[in-house]
Symmetry: C2
Subunit: 340 residues, 2 copies
DNA sequence: TTGTAGGCGTTATCAT
DNA sequence: ATGATAACGCCTACAA
């Protein structure tokens, strides 16, 4: 780092003391307007840029919040980050973004790094640390909020259980009885809740839960595609598939198309997230809408409360809603098989 | 920020001086191994976490690089960020990510903020500041590298011109003569080069360039969809469309499907980027592959050279390559029209 | 091997 | 209204 001009340099050039310069720059009330103006002008033309590290040392506040995400290219996170950033900036905070790549060790490193950088608070999405969190944050005592981790006291989540139930209920109402669930092998509470919702609806309708119809994905296109290949290889494939997320659903549809079958005629598909792309997909994807932007906004709001020292914050759950588009329809009557 | 334990606290507890503690923590050679070990253990159990802001003040280095991106949900950027992050971490740098939302003022603010945080260097993608950059970086003298900004001396770019030419040449070879280009109204060099490549190929084949066939998108699904609606409303619609990027292409295909036409039978579509999704789309998208990860990796490598003070760095251009999938085919013979 | 002293750039307190 | 001084947490000569 080259040596930048400091307050001292300006003080010397202006023939005043460093504290006067500091006051002038901060529009301190008790300073003559003329010298203040003169100093500010001087600072401007000397190319002064304050050192936040130095300032934070004495103010004991970096005005920074750390945000942990799994991967920048996870499309679900885009708007969420947006929500966090805008709420943060509105309160004068900058946000430090870091990717955990769904790796618990990396995530721990990030938390440590955030703490060493003395961020004011942190928001964590897609945490892999799970329950070990309370412990970690004993070591690094920082205000923090988890996203989509409803069991954690300081968290903001989507109603994953309810959303999943709406989706599967919709399929049952259409007449489906062989409904598969493509999960996410990364153990997230989101997956657990969506899976529970799926099972609950089947039980409610006395539809037996078959292990073979619950198959593992990983939230990616490829994971979805492979899961569907396994389902298609079953003696009796499902007539509908509920997927962990939209990306998985797109992978699933790819495999259905690949064997010459068609959605929703041969198999219905429902996703979760309601990405921008969902409405533009072919066919447009039936999915469960998740309020991403508000999720980020609320997480940031909760974090600000924690930073202010409030103790009365409670886990928040935002509603999810099914959006019916064109990948869900009644099961086709297997005419040929019946004749046999 | 609560008061964390400092080196002084440890020194007091261990009955030594602060400098001894500092040396023990840094595995300084000239210190007895036994006291060093004792101090480290003490630091551990007292929950010591070094203050990077304080350290950076004296070392004059934050070991941080700033990365400006347009928007976290821009799928093109995922792997690029990945490349930057991994290369940075390998050299002991953390990366500070911030979104400019394609807004020049926001971008300027980010640069200012990065400078005030005393980052060691910055990488900028999708810059909206364009030529004003040299000027801005006179005010904030920081090592910096631009991505996809080939005219800038410190930059790493994809061969946008060559990639576009391959795409359009492919369409011409298939027999197309009415080829449209859906651009990006945000004025990026990427758009200018892809547009130039498009025009160059048409000229080379003596195909007249029609203004009506060059229409504005904005790199989003909706922008692509609307552009295609305009093209479809033309007296003589194109038989093929080359798009600024894959996302635009998906929007374009949506509009084609919406009027009951089909890709590539009624209209060929080619994108740019080769997102993961491209291979899974229906039909799988013909597109120009961009080496995103390496783009990020090389940008970071160049930045490190600049940080080391090397002056001999030159703009780098990485090759792009057409990937033919299933959205490009020969133009359909308009049989009905011929009969009239 | 260890301690002392000074300083990084800033702000805050106490004088003046 | 302004200046001097100390302090934030850390590092690094230099001295012991």
């Amino acid at each position: 780092m080259q040596k930048a001009v400091s307050i001292k340099d300006i003080a010397k050039a202006a023939g005043v003391s460093p504290s006067t310069v500091s006051r002038a720059l901060h529009h301190h009330p008790r300073i003559s307007e003329e010298t203040a103006e003169r100093i500010r002008e001087l600072a401007q033309q000397m190319g002064y840029s304050p050192s936040l590290p130095a300032r934070s040392l004495v103010t004991r506040d970096t005005a920074t919040i750390g945000l942990v995400i799994s991967h920048v290219s996870d499309p679900f996170l885009g708007r969420l980050v947006n929500g966090v950033e805008e709420s943060a900036q509105a309160e004068g905070y900058s946000v430090f973004l870091s990717s955990s790549y769904r790796n618990a060790d990396l995530e721990r490193n990030i938390i440590r790094d955030f703490h060493e950088r003395r961020v004011t608070g942190i928001v964590v999405t897609s945490s892999q640390i799970n329950n070990g969190y309370s412990e970690l944050c004993e070591r690094y005592p920082l205000p923090h909020v988890l996203v989509n981790f409803p069991d954690y006291p300081h968290s903001v989540s989507t109603d994953n259980l309810g959303g999943a139930q709406q989706a599967v209920e919709h399929l049952v109402q259409l007449g489906h009885r062989r409904i598969a669930y493509v999960s996410n092998r990364h153990v997230y509470p989101t997956d657990l809740h969506r899976r529970s919702g799926y099972k609950a609806v089947l039980r409610r309708h006395d539809i037996p839960i078959e292990d073979a119809l619950i198959t593992e994905g990983d939230g990616t296109l490829e994971g979805g595609a492979r899961a569907m290949q396994r389902l298609l290889a079953l003696p009796l494939p499902p007539t509908a598939v509920f997927c962990y997320n939209d990306v998985t659903a797109m992978g699933v549809m790819h495999s259905i198309n690949a064997v010459g079958k068609s959605v929703p005629r041969d198999c219905s598909v429902i996703g979760f997230d309601d990405l921008d792309l969902a409405a533009y997909y072919c066919p447009p994807l039936t999915t469960v809408h998740q309020p991403c932007y508000r999720l980020g906004q609320r997480a940031m709001r909760m974090l600000l409360q924690l930073i202010e020292g409030r103790e009365d914050v409670e886990a928040e759950v935002l509603p999810a809603g099914l959006v019916v588009r064109e990948t869900s329809g009644p099961p086709s009557v297997p005419t040929r098989r019946r004749r046999r």
